[in-house]
Every structure is written in structure tokens, then in C-alpha cells.
């Protein structure tokens, strides 16, 4: 075995407690003002531009980034608190979440200075939305099979091809995508892809909505036809995207969004069951709470190790593997227990609506952002099996 797994018992530092109170108070105000309904995760329109700006005004976007780019130089653990409180409240974070979690950090690392100065402060203000252009009709988990071409031309590149399953592309202002700049080599099939910043809503980009089984339209097909991208929108090394893709994954894989996506059904079940549960309900709830507690401890532990400058790549993949399976199973376990809820329970209808939505959501949870199979391959490599 390469190395023992580590899950240090990290606690959130005291500055997080004040922050948590502020976030809860802010969300309570937003709920009272009618910005969103925390009991309705399935609402039609989760794009809330004004809400995004108010989150930015609070200083909760780009929290860990340098101040000169509009960031706030706070810790990953503080960002963790904001993320989990928003998630549990079912706040409409779609507009800023991707930019804050991963697009911003990629720009910080690979974009030219003038691009950083132009775009990062706007993310921090909650003004702009990002999409991620990875999957294509014939390349999903196998990222390095991407075929959409970037052909060199005067002052930039011409893009031709199609990205698919692209969440939020219909509202996004920018996308970070990988395009093929060279063919793969015999020695390295990962060679030849380059990471680009794409300005959306420009000529040569057509966004076609794709409906999902939940009834939502988050997915899109994005078709590029001779779309021009200037040279300074290249992010990092030409042909070398494969070297850049892996380092940020630990942040992306281990956050609270990886086990709390369907958490709301557990809260609603507890409400429906009431204060005096029968033995079956009590045991069922107890086991589910023990799981969510354990998942959170694992996730906080990885966040703390990242903050301390460690690289818990295998641990982060484990968090996403078992976290997403847990959040996928949760609505089914809650459904089993809900069968025993009294007809008279006041929130019975809310619970049933939530269950319908969560059960429809469940299949995607172990696919998005790295499938279970890909994650287990990474874990197996970490164990010295590959």
C-alpha cells in the first residue's frame, strides 16, 4: 500500500461560528423577502441574479482569493461554512457556484494578468455565471477523447464542434472548456488538448436546451461554428490541459455539495415523524443522521487538510464516492420510512413532492463531476492497484 488514509479530526475554527450566524441571518432575510422557498428545491427558475449580487456584496464569493482580484483572503474552512449553509437552505446558487468553486481558481492559476483583473472581480461581485465545457457527444468520462477543434488563426483560434450536458450554458457569461489543438501522440493519448476561456453570447456559439428527467432545463448542447477565441484566452500550456486538470479536483470532489444535494428530504421526514417516533422510524432516522454526520466529518477533514497545504487526493475521491452514493440512496430510505408517517402530518404533501423530485434527481448524483467508476479507478490507483 502506498500510504495510509488520513482523516484528521478537524474542527471548524471559532471565526467560522460568527460567519455561520451571519450566513443564516442573511438566508433567513432572503427567505422572508420571498427570494426563494427553502422547501422547494424543484422550483423552475433557480437563476437569481439579484441574489447572486447580494451574496457578492456580503463578501462570500471568491472568499479565498487575493484581495487585488476582489477576493477576501479568507480560509477554505470559512468558504466551507458558507457553501454548506447555502446548500442546506436550498438557496439559488446556480449563477455563481461553478465560478466560485472551480472556474475562478483555474483563472487564478492560468489566465494572463489582465484577464484576471477583468473577470475575477466580477465573479466576486456575483455578476457573472460560468459553465464547464468538458463532455462531448462522444466523450464523457473519457475526457481525453474530446474532438472539438481549436484551429490556429490570426490572433487566436477558430472553434468547431459540440459540447454537451453543459449545465447553465444558457445563462452563462463564460465557459472554461477543453478543445483539441493537436492530435494525441502514440506515447500519450492525453496530449493535444488545451484549456480555453470562452466568452459566451458571441457569434459562432449556439446554445440548445436539453430537458432532464427532473423536468428542469439545466443541460445544454453548445455548438461552435468558426467561433473566434483570442490568443490571450488560452489557459495554461498549449496541448497540455491534462497536466492541469487533476490538481484542483480535490477541491471539487470533497465539498459539502457532494453529500447534501438531497439532504432536505431528511429534514422533512423528521418534521413529518414528529417528536415521538416509533422504533422503526427512530432507528431509520438515527442511521441516516449517523451517516450524514460521518460524511460531514470526512468532508471537513479533507477541507482542513487542503487548508493546511496537504494533497489528500485519494481521500477527496473517497468523500465523493461514498458521499454521492449516500445522497443518492437517501430519498429512497426516506421514502421507506415515509410510508409509516401519519396521514395527518401537516407537511405530508411537502414531503411527498420533495421525494418525487429527489428520487428523480438521484441518478445524476453519481455521474456529475466524475462518475463512481472513474472515482474508484482513482482510489484504486492510490491504493497501488493500477
Amino acid at each position: 500500500m502506498t500510504a495510509a488514509l488520513r482523516f484528521d479530526p478537524i474542527r471548524l475554527p471559532s471565526e467560522c461560528e460568527q460567519l455561520r450566524k451571519e450566513v443564516r441571518a442573511f438566508l433567513a432575510e432572503e427567505i422572508a423577502a420571498g427570494t426563494f422557498d427553502p422547501h422547494q428545491p424543484n422550483r423552475e427558475d433557480t437563476d437569481a441574479p439579484e441574489f447572486s449580487r447580494r451574496v457578492g456584496e456580503r463578501g462570500w464569493l471568491g472568499m479565498t482569493w487575493p484581495k487585488k482580484y476582489g477576493g477576501h483572503e479568507r480560509s477554505f474552512l470559512e468558504r466551507y461554512v458558507v457553501t454548506e449553509e447555502m446548500r442546506v437552505a436550498n438557496a439559488p446558487t446556480r449563477r455563481f457556484f461553478v465560478a466560485d468553486r472551480q472556474s475562478g481558481p483555474v483563472l487564478l492559476k492560468y489566465a494572463p494578468e489582465h484577464i484576471k483583473m477583468e473577470i475575477l472581480p466580477r465573479i466576486c461581485r456575483g455578476e457573472i455565471c460560468f459553465a464547464i465545457g468538458m463532455s462531448e457527444p462522444n466523450s464523457g468520462s473519457d475526457l481525453f477523447a474530446a474532438k472539438t477543434r481549436a484551429t490556429k488563426t490570426d490572433g487566436g483560434y477558430l472553434i468547431n464542434g459540440t459540447k454537451i450536458w453543459t449545465s447553465s450554458a444558457h445563462i452563462a457569461d463564460y465557459m472554461i472548456a477543453i478543445f483539441r489543438t493537436s492530435p494525441p501522440t502514440k506515447e500519450n493519448r492525453r496530449h493535444g488538448l488545451t484549456q480555453f476561456l470562452v466568452k459566451m453570447k458571441q457569434p459562432g456559439i449556439q446554445v440548445n436546451p436539453i430537458g432532464q428527467i427532473t423536468g428542469q432545463y439545466e443541460f445544454n448542447e453548445v455548438v461552435f461554428t468558426d467561433h473566434f477565441i483570442p490568443d490571450d484566452y488560452v489557459l495554461g500550456e498549449i496541448d497540455g490541459a491534462w497536466k492541469q486538470a487533476t490538481s484542483e479536483l480535490a477541491y471539487e470532489r470533497s465539498g459539502p455539495e457532494r453529500f447534501l444535494e438531497t439532504y432536505y428530504v431528511l429534514t422533512e421526514l423528521v418534521r413529518a415523524v414528529g417528536n415521538n417516533p416509533d422504533t422503526r422510524s427512530a432507528e431509520g432516522i438515527g442511521r441516516l443522521v449517523a451517516q450524514v454526520h460521518t460524511m460531514r466529518r470526512m468532508s471537513v477533514s479533507v477541507a482542513g487538510m487542503l487548508q493546511a497545504g496537504k494533497e489528500p487526493v485519494v481521500e477527496a475521491s473517497i468523500v465523493k464516492d461514498i458521499g454521492t452514493i449516500w445522497e443518492q440512496q437517501l430519498p429512497h430510505r426516506v421514502r421507506e420510512l415515509a410510508a409509516f408517517v401519519e396521514e395527518t402530518a401537516g407537511n405530508r404533501e411537502t414531503l411527498e413532492k420533495q421525494l418525487d423530485f429527489a428520487i428523480k434527481t438521484a441518478p445524476k448524483l453519481t455521474i456529475q463531476g466524475g462518475t463512481t467508476e472513474v472515482l474508484r479507478g482513482i482510489i484504486a490507483r492510490g491504493l497501488g492497484l493500477r
Binding site: S281, A282, E283, G286, V289, M298, S301, I322, R386
Partner: protein, 369 residues
């Protein structure tokens, strides 16, 4: 001063350095004298006496007893790290039990005698009562290592429900021998008007649930340790065993099973070390500490089933033999689920607590630290 986890003798802040030294001492003793392969071949149990002697010389069985009461005065964190190591070696001597017994006696400022001890009761459903004449009566099932213990640390309650801690001579109790799944003693202990060697009131706030939670966290650490070892030996075996002309570690189905075992091992480790840390740094008892302790027992017990099952699957028939060491870890991990309240028992208790607090108080509980 009200009761706290530290028996009022040493503050909780874990001293990382010394914690490592105590754990390293334990690891070295286990590696030298409790090697799984050697133990597994020794049918007569000749390894037990030298191991116990070495542990005693190092002050480990009474790690949680202050020096004034006959122990070595280690911190809770140091003691927990010893239990993790004991789990990694699936140690089959009453080390955890003697540590818990010493900790319980120290709660009431009773000096620990030398030798093996265990705690009575070891299940949340059994009760030992204090009779009007001061003697003790009651029946406790599933008491680990009762048969080899010289003394019992007993938690008993009187007619008013007030708890006392007693030191009881094992020879004065009736013991019906039994074995747990791992083949270690798990006995029924009956006290029939037994006169204790010493008895003192438990500190205010201490009750049987506190004892069961402390025992449960000890077992959680042991289970997590056993799973770490099961992962290690399963990975090693998969890199050695050849089938269909290649190492079985090269089959994706096997890789994914081992990744799942890593996940179960990781979940157990995270839950158990978090609970241990919570108790080591707690000044009293509250819902947050309760959640940490019971969640660890529930999650580690579930991991023992799922993880142990995968370890056996990877090993195939060889892992099902007495000659192979896998059962030392897999069966003990399963057996430890039953001590100090099973996962289903604690899940009911946790579910009741969550329901009483109400739906909107669940997330604040989970996100409290």
C-alpha cells in the same frame, strides 16, 4: 464540580507529540508480541502472558488512571490512540476492557488494582443494583473477558436511581463462559448480594449511558483499526494472487471492490477518530458529544459488515480458513459491534433525540463543529 470525561485529573487538549509516543510504544509491543501470523499458529495461547506483561510494564492497561490511583496518568487522547493500534492488531487480550475499567474506577476516585479487569455491565439494557445493605445484585450479559478478569469495575444504581462505582472481586461473582464471534470471552456475570471491595458514588451527571458511550467509542476505534488492517492485507493479497493469468488486482471488478473497502475503512476511521477527539476535548456531556459517540458506533458497525465482507470476497477461499489471519480482524470487528450497545440500539436512541429536538434543530446539531 460536575462530572467530566477526564476523571478530573488531566485536561483534554491532546498533546500530539506525547500521544504519538504512547501509540508508538503500543505499536511496537503489538508488532513484537502480537503478530497476527504467530498468534494464529499458536493454538495454546502462549503469546498472551508475555504480551500482557509487556503492556503492563509500559503502563498501558491503566493508561487512563491517574498516578495517585495506581495508573500511568495518560490523557484520553493518548489512550484512544492505543486503542486504534490495538484494533489494527486485532489484539485479543483485555487491554481496552482494563483501560475502561480503570477509567470508570478513577471517575469515583477508587484506586485500581493490578491485573486484568473488565466493566460490568457492558450492555445498556442490563442493570446492577445496590441493595439496602450495600451489597450488589444483577445480571450482565456479553461482558468481554469476564472469565480472565481478576476484578470488575461495576456501575450500579440504588433504589433512587443514583449511580455508584464499585470495585468487585471477580471470584465472588458467578460467571457463565461464552465466546464472541471472534472467539474471545464474552460472558454472563451474575452478582448475588456481592460485597464490593470498594464502592463510591459516581460523580454528579455520570450514568450508564456515559459508560456505554465511552465503551462504544473504544470499540469504534478498534473496529476502524481492524478495517485499516483488512484493507492493507486485502490490497497486498490482490497484488500477489494470480488468476486468469494476471494479478487479481488488475481486474476492474476487484479494484472497485477494494476502493469500496477503502471507503468503508475511511468512514470508520473518520467517525471513530472524530468521536474520540470530541470526548478528549469535551468538558461535559451534551447532544453534540452524544452524536459523535453514537454515530461512530453506528457507522463503524456498518463498516465492519460491508468492509469485512469485501475483504473476504477479495481473499476467496483462503480467507475462509483458520490458517489465514483475515478472520482475526473480520470476526472481531463483527463481534465488537455488539458490545456497549449495538448499532441498531444506538440508532433508535439517536433517532429519538433528533425527533425530540425537532426538524429545524437537526442541521444545527450536525453542523455544530
Amino acid at each position: 464540580m460536575s462530572w467530566d470525561w477526564h476523571a478530573n485529573f488531566k485536561s483534554g487538549n491532546a498533546v500530539a507529540e506525547s500521544e504519538n509516543i504512547v501509540a508508538e510504544t503500543a505499536e511496537k509491543i503489538f508488532a513484537d508480541l502480537a503478530d497476527a501470523q504467530t498468534i494464529n499458529r499458536d493454538q495454546k495461547g502462549k503469546w498472551k502472558a508475555p504480551l500482557w506483561q509487556a503492556l503492563t510494564d509500559a503502563g498501558l492497561p491503566l493508561a487512563w488512571v491517574p498516578e495517585d490511583y495506581g495508573g500511568s496518568g495518560a490523557s484520553l487522547a493518548e489512550g484512544f490512540s492505543v486503542l486504534s493500534a490495538a484494533g489494527r492488531f486485532a489484539v485479543a487480550v483485555p487491554l481496552a476492557e482494563t483501560m475502561l475499567a480503570g477509567w470508570l474506577l478513577a471517575q469515583a476516585k477508587i484506586t485500581s488494582p493490578g491485573g486484568e479487569m473488565t466493566v460490568v455491565p457492558a450492555s445498556p439494557k442490563d442493570r446492577i443494583t445496590i441493595n439496602a445493605d450495600g451489597s450488589l445484585s444483577g445480571r450482565a450479559r456479553g461482558v468481554p473477558f469476564a472469565k480472565v478478569a481478576k476484578y470488575f469495575a461495576v456501575l450500579a444504581s440504588d433504589a433512587k436511581g443514583d449511580f455508584s462505582v464499585a470495585l468487585v472481586d471477580a471470584g465472588k461473582c458467578r460467571i457463565e463462559s461464552g465466546l464472541n464471534l471472534g472467539g474471545d470471552p464474552s460472558d454472563v456475570v451474575t452478582l448475588d448480594k456481592v460485597e464490593p471491595v470498594a464502592i463510591k458514588p459516581a460523580p454528579i451527571g455520570f450514568d450508564q449511558a456515559r459508560l456505554m458511550l465511552m465503551g462504544g467509542v473504544a470499540r469504534s476505534l478498534q473496529i476502524a483499526g481492524a478495517l485499516e488492517s483488512m484493507l492493507e492485507i486485502s490490497v497486498r493479497y490482490s497484488n500477489e494472487r494470480v488468476a486468469f493469468e494476471k494479478k487479481i488486482s488488475k481486474f476492474q471488478a476487484v479494484q472497485h471492490n477494494l476502493a469500496r473497502l477503502a471507503g468503508e475503512s475511511a468512514a470508520a476511521l473518520a467517525a471513530a477518530t472524530s468521536a474520540a477527539d470530541a470526548i478528549a476535548n469535551a468538558t461535559g456531556f451534551n447532544d453534540e458529544v452524544f452524536l459523535e459517540a453514537v454515530a461512530a458506533k453506528i457507522r463503524c458497525s456498518e463498516a465492519a459488515e460491508k468492509g469485512g465482507g469485501i475483504a473476504h470476497q477479495v481473499h476467496g477461499a483462503i480467507g475462509f480458513t483458520i490458517e489465514h489471519i483475515l478472520h482475526r480482524y473480520s470476526l472481531r470487528a463483527l463481534a465488537w459491534r455488539d458490545d456497549f450497545g449495538s448499532e441498531s440500539y444506538w440508532a433508535v436512541e439517536l433517532g429519538k433525540l433528533v425527533a425530540q429536538r425537532g426538524a429545524d434543530e437537526l442541521w444545527p446539531l450536525v453542523a455544530s463543529r
